[in-house]
Symmetry: C2
Subunit: 348 residues, 2 copies
Amino acid sequence: MFENEERTNLEDLGEFGLISHLTKNIKLGQPSTIKGVGDDAAVLDFTGKKVLISTDMLLEGIHFDLAYTPLKHLGYKAIQVNLSDIYAMNGIASQVTVSIGMSSKFPLEAIEELYEGIYIACEKYNVDLIGGDTTSSKQGLVISVTSIGYADEADVVYRNGAGEGDLICVSGDLGGAYVGLQLLEREKLVYLENPNIQPDLEGKDYIVERQLKPEARRDIVELLKSIAVKPTAMIDVSDGLASEILHICKQSDKGCNLYEEKIPLDPMTYETAREFNLDPTVCALSGGEDYELLFTVKQADYDKIKFKMDITIIGHITEPSAGCNLITTSGNSHPLKAQGWNAFKNEE
Amino acid sequence: MFENEERTNLEDLGEFGLISHLTKNIKLGQPSTIKGVGDDAAVLDFTGKKVLISTDMLLEGIHFDLAYTPLKHLGYKAIQVNLSDIYAMNGIASQVTVSIGMSSKFPLEAIEELYEGIYIACEKYNVDLIGGDTTSSKQGLVISVTSIGYADEADVVYRNGAGEGDLICVSGDLGGAYVGLQLLEREKLVYLENPNIQPDLEGKDYIVERQLKPEARRDIVELLKSIAVKPTAMIDVSDGLASEILHICKQSDKGCNLYEEKIPLDPMTYETAREFNLDPTVCALSGGEDYELLFTVKQADYDKIKFKMDITIIGHITEPSAGCNLITTSGNSHPLKAQGWNAFKNEE
């Protein structure tokens, strides 16, 4: 039943537009709500510590394809994707809830494999699975995870704290998960055309793993703490570097210059992107699913950061009127655009 | 991909069997985890207050049918169903997260109606919507809600505290939501056979509303506090009275006697059940979705409870060897069986 006769296409709004539209009239009434919608995780005040809560939903055919996703990996990834949001607040993840909807045609052993991956991730990251829901689905596999974490008030890092002149840093390397996905999609097509041909993923372990088995960067949060660097703003790279830095700049009311030559790419990402006639920089900017941490630090912290192997300085924050720009290797400046993964443009 | 060749049917396990199976090896490692899987909500210790977290997933075709469920009601119900779990811990609900998966064919106005119901419920129950996820779905509407609440440690009520001789109490009346569902299903069939016939729900507002727009019993939690009664055990009635009292008895290692003649039934529930040739008592025992609170209190609290209009004493807790029994109006004793809603037997 649907009473309103007006029709506006969700495709025209896009995911962020829809969220913005739907949440613009939220009234927060609880004194315990410090930060609601609008960051990687909500911040609640339950005395002493801030409680961090984040949630994500993964749907078959949208977020994953069971043709090439082992269930154990899927369970592992579902947890990592969520923990990543807690770390992006500079917090410590402590618990998760997991709700699963699946066809009753799935045998128990399949769902066990899924949970095996979930438990491996929980154990590795020292988080407790503390609840959830398990139900039948008529429509394929549905996974919803809520993660809970905590941090001292002084340690919480929002998206909106970037200051002019701050250095823009990113952990690990980018674009690999997206290129890995292209590889898996190609091998799926080959297989569908001729089931006798085995998938050719030889030597591509790294990027396939970036797609199927990402690791949330708890180690980066710990590293930053150990060298006494508190980022001024932070976000995790789920939708692509461009989309994420635009979030930080918009919420901080600042601009930025990102330097193409500084964007960290694994050689395998670079080579494989070229094989697919893809621009490796575009894969990093718009590919998404890398689950690295993108953060800004004060210039005064440069000496503490500069020799950390797993952190790359890729640009700096500018005044807002300068806009958000990519400075290409050839020296040109292009406005950054969020062309990341859009849940409402992804449907066939 | 699915590597394990063994196959066990989920149908054979049932929902509780599956959860029990999947969670039996959980190791809790966080000092902040006081209670994980196994109650209405998880209890976490974040200094001072206990934090309560609960989550539920609602799937189209399993939990709701859009043929007769207005989206606004659906949004409202999705929140109520979750808050009910926080109240069942004797807690105060304070926040929710809401994740929605829906076809991009839905117009914006449809999803706005859904959120309108969500916001109305949040405002009425004074909870903040603090996060969530919105994504495309290839498979119909998916709603996942996590609710967060809190309570003083001394106030938290688990399922496992029922003592021998305790009185079994239930709020409101039972079976209405199930009978309301029968009515809606019948009118749907009539409509499908002849779209010119308008639904005949006249005079049935109460039971239709019990199904489409349940109310979580925050008022009962407040009432009990105001008369200084702390239940010894509590659960909300989502799967039917029989299933819920069996949970309390199993977790408390006790038996019970429930008295058929005491089970509160609204006259409309009774009459409409009869029209459908259904036993009204069975509707109360196995129908589910009433979202009333079922709780046990010490006999010493009898005087405080006995004249409360909205609370009915329906039996008492016994020693475990006596089993869990329904004493019928004719004086016979029958073992109670959980024949409530089973998510894995509900699929066509």
